[in-house]
Amino acid sequence: MDFVSENLLTLLILLPVFGAVGLLAHQMFWKQEEHLKWVTLAITVVIFLLSLLLLGDGGTKAGGFAFVKNVPWIEAINTNYHVGIDGLSLWLVILTTFIMPIAILSTWHAVEKRPLAFYAFLLLLQSAMIGVFVSLDLLVFYLFFEASLVPMFFLIGIWGGANRIYAAVKFFIFTAVGSLLMLVAIIALYFMHQQATGVGTFDFVTLLGSIESGTLAFSASTGLLLFIAFALAFSIKVPLFPFHTWLPDAHTEAPTAGSVILAAVLLKMGTYGLMRFNFPLFPEAARELAPIFIILAIIGIIYGALVAMVQPDVKRLVAYSSVAHMGFVILGMFSFTEWGMQGALYQMLNHGISTGALFLLVGFIYERRHTREISEFGGLANVMPIYATFFVITAMSSIGLPFLNGFVGEFLIMVGMWKSSILAVTATANWNYIATMAAGTGVIFAAVYLLWMIQRVFFGKVTNEKNRILTDLTPREIGIMIPLLFLMVFMGVYPRPFLDRSRDAVVAIQERVVKQAGGTVEVVETFEKE
């Protein structure tokens, strides 16, 4: 067991790769394509169970990094394979491993073309995603960040819809442009560290230590440039308004499994990166640019909601709702209060579960009717009652109904923004309040577009004869949805286990941003702390 717990993260990264190789070998020797999905499912379930071991460590709670592995990789440029997790990454890793089996089950019958390559790419994607969340060396992080592009590129390009080539190329180029500038910033950090201390390093912990102790200091303008280079990569990935245009295309064209993973995990890489790297490394710049990010986030929330409202295609609607939801996450992060940042992290998980579930549900109906046009449907609740129930619950979670997970996240974010002191407070107006209220309208819009869509799709009379013969969800589909629905309720009723574990890591980041700017850390008595 020692070996497993010492190398747990490495195992989590490598197992999917071995799995992919195993699939290739299986296909070479047995040539039985119908086995592939079972093998893949088994691999991902094993990985999920293994990842649960991460919860067992006390180190995660105490702050700092747990399950650390640090071995030299390229000595010539002093880069190390350094991985570890803390409260920030813990839940994202588990979200990744949790969503994979679901994604695979979701396309159980839908992948007829090239199943081997499909499952191999999914596994490679999983490996890269886990790598992103656990790497503590900037170069290694960059490596996984880029590596996650390729499998997704193929997933969209080969198994996507009619316009898949455009969507795949757009997805790749948008993300690559941002991340390449981040690479320059990473190398620049290396040299600044070299000039300051004599030893260049890509190691996040070392860099952070040098910045905290003041050994590595850079001018305000340099800090801003570096912050922007990092933030651009992450903002494109989130995506923050105005960089969001790749998202609806990619989501609409991707196969269901791809959309689920894209929404649930890939977008989180952006918000995770901002919190993990941008805030602690460049706290002054983070504070200085916070108003811009808050404004963009609010524009994203409202714009995403308004555009979602008029979409004729259900999947595109959900895609635009992603833009709005991720706007909330950004807003919470940049409030720099414990409430807001914890809420942002919580909302990342919520969005992964709720939006992932919505994409699954859209996928189910698409498999039956091969269309996603809202106008094609109507009165589905009469024909598919279970499906309708699930859809409504999921939509409610996405809207943020109390006792469902979305509420907790959005509530925390709004409280955090309200209590924040990041925006100007003038005699006539406290802009933090105004920002909160503006974001609050987004919740109302969310209710409007989702409920309106539900009304058109599920209620009323069955208008289209083709819909009469639709079958309700199969046991497999119900089985996929049950864990997601359970989590929606559980996380909505009892968020403490989640928030407790992430608290120390999040507060550490918050304190850094606030302290560095000469501010004082206000001690917030949150309800999860008692």
Binding site: W73, I74, E75, A76, I77, R114, A117, L139, Y142, L143, F144, E146, A147, L149, V150, F153, F154, G157, I158, R164, I165, A168, V169, F172, I173, A176, V177, L180, L181, L183, V184, I187, A188, Y190, F191, Q194, Q195
Partner: protein
């Protein structure tokens, strides 16, 4: 005139001797037993392997002096690391061309002999520490390559390619020679070590600057850097695919080796001396601008190509630009170890480029069929799952050329960007940012290859080609190389950047 001891040392030029002898033997064998392609190819490979072993033996140093033959041949990390690139390129090219020689009934013995002579020229270009030796190496290389480009005698495009290459190559050689003459006029010596010492004199004549400018033009042609790149696409498209792969990887790397030797070592940064500082400043600035232009021109033009070979030709131009980034970084490096690291970075870059490039051309040669008929992008439509091994391998090479992590191209890019950023100079930082933006642009056309292979449907029939064993070996080596240099590149870089230990100078 005083005669000095020429310091004859055969060991130091053992790789060159072995390659040249093998070339002669192959040529003679072909005279008496013509049309034995397999045998001449095997002989050449054995010769290359022997040369590689001799390099490995003399590499650690200790057994050979730092320079011999009156200072005309040097034994340093630049020479050694580039020699590795040349030998690898030559060996891979022989493996790749086997399928083409068979298909088009090319005189195999001649071809192999020419390739070996070209390799000899390349080796000499990296080990020569004297302008004359460098020029000799260059001409040996060039003349052999002119012939190779035109080997497909019945094909008009191939003829055009050889003709263009010959005329423009000669022009470039003329520029080089004139530049060398001017430098000799200014410094009174052909030896690069002595030139470096003379340059340190604050009162060097302005003639040196003119000479250096001429050399930049000449080498600019040879490495196909903008604005001296226009010949490259036509020549690369017309030449037979294996030869194109060779030209883009080998002679380009060789030109970089001498280019580095003359400029970085011959015109170094000299602290406190204004005149020499001016020389160094001038050429680094000029090359930085050229690097930006080269990358941009190459990438933007590559986007618009519909022919895969032409696309790769433009991509090769842009890669010369990336290598120039590291080159300029080497030029401004202030310490010996930084300089060595930067030179090693350029060598590593050429190595990673060579592997991915020759790998791509191997597959294009195989799929191109007779006379390279099928080299348009449409010809690759939808072959992804019909020939998965070839298609995935080609995709891997494209991603390596793009510089995606875990491939050799990524480590290469990081390494060449590093010295340029280290200088902390605004122009060089702009250059690196330009390089990064260019990398993003290049994503479009490299991905296009993947898009046509995997995402498009094939309209016409596809007969999966049989992969001959020699080509399979070449593909295997390049695939392993791409991953090995990308994941365990550490060992190679370390080797490349460590100077061999010089033998205690023994004057006889």
């Amino acid at each position: 005139m005083q005669l000095s001891d020429p310091n004859v040392n055969l060991l130091i030029i053992m790789p060159e001797i072995i390659i040249a002898l093998t070339g002669v033997i192959v040529m003679l064998y072909d005279c008496f037993f013509p049309k034995n392609r397999g045998i001449t190819g095997t002989m050449s490979l054995i010769g290359i392997a022997a040369a590689a072993i001799s390099i490995a033996l003399i590499w650690p140093g200790g057994s050979v002096p730092a320079s011999a033959w009156g200072g005309m041949i040097v034994h340093d990390s630049l020479r050694l690391s580039f020699s590795v690139v040349f030998l690898l390129v030559a060996a891979l090219t022989i493996l790749v061309s086997s399928v083409w020689i068979e298909r088009e009934d090319v005189p195999g013995g001649e071809y192999h002999a020419l390739l070996l002579f070209a390799t000899f020229g390349m080796l000499l270009m990296s080990s020569g520490n004297d302008l004359v030796i460098i020029f000799l190496g260059l001409e040996t290389l060039s003349i052999a390559t002119y012939v190779m480009a035109g080997l497909r005698k019945s094909d008009l495009k191939s003829n055009e390619s050889a003709m263009k290459y010959f005329i423009l190559g000669s022009l470039a050689s003329a520029f080089l020679l004139y530049g060398m003459a001017l430098i000799y006029g200014a410094t009174g010596t052909m030896n690069i070590t002595e030139i470096a010492a003379k340059v340190a004199d604050p009162n060097f004549p302005a003639l040196l600057l003119v000479g250096a400018a001429m050399l930049i033009v000449g080498f600019g042609f040879k490495v196909a850097a903008a604005p001296f790149h226009v010949w490259a696409p036509d020549v690369y498209e017309g030449a037979p695919s294996p030869v194109t792969g060779f030209m883009a990887a080998g002679p380009k790397a060789a030109a970089f080796a001498s280019f580095l030797r003359i400029f970085v070592i011959g015109f170094p940064v000299v602290g406190g001396l204004e005149a020499a500082g001016y020389l160094n400043y001038s050429w680094t600035t000029a090359l930085a601008v050229m690097a930006i232009a080269t990358m941009t021109v190459g990438n933007v033009a590559a986007i618009m190509q519909n022919n895969v070979k032409r696309m790769l030709a433009y991509s090769s131009i842009s890669h010369a630009g990336y290598a120039l980034v590291g080159f300029v970084g080497a030029g401004v490096a202030l310490t010996q170890s930084n300089r060595d690291a930067a030179i090693a970075a350029v060598a590593f870059y050429m190595l990673s480029y060579a592997v991915a490039n020759i790998g791509s051309f191997a597959i294009i040669t195989l799929l191109g069929q007779k006379n390279d008929r099928r080299t348009e992008f449409e010809d690759f439509n939808g072959i992804g799952f019909k020939s998965p091994v070839l298609a995935f391998t080609l995709s891997l090479f494209m991603l390596s050329l793009l510089g995606l992590p875990l491939t050799a191209g990524f480590i290469g890019k990081v390494l060449v960007f590093r010295p340029a950023l280290e200088a902390n100079n605004p122009l060089l930082t702009i250059m690196v940012v330009a390089a990064v933006i260019n990398t993003a642009i290049s994503a479009y056309y490299y991905l296009r290859m993947i898009v046509v292979m995997f995402f498009k449907e094939r309209a016409t029939d596809w007969v999966e080609p049989r992969i001959p064993s020699a080509l399979a070996a070449a593909i295997l080596v390049t695939v392993i190389g791409t991953f090995y240099f990308g994941i365990f590149g550490n060992r190679v870089i370390e080797r490349f950047s460590t100077q061999p230990i010089a033998e205690a100078v023994s004057q006889r």
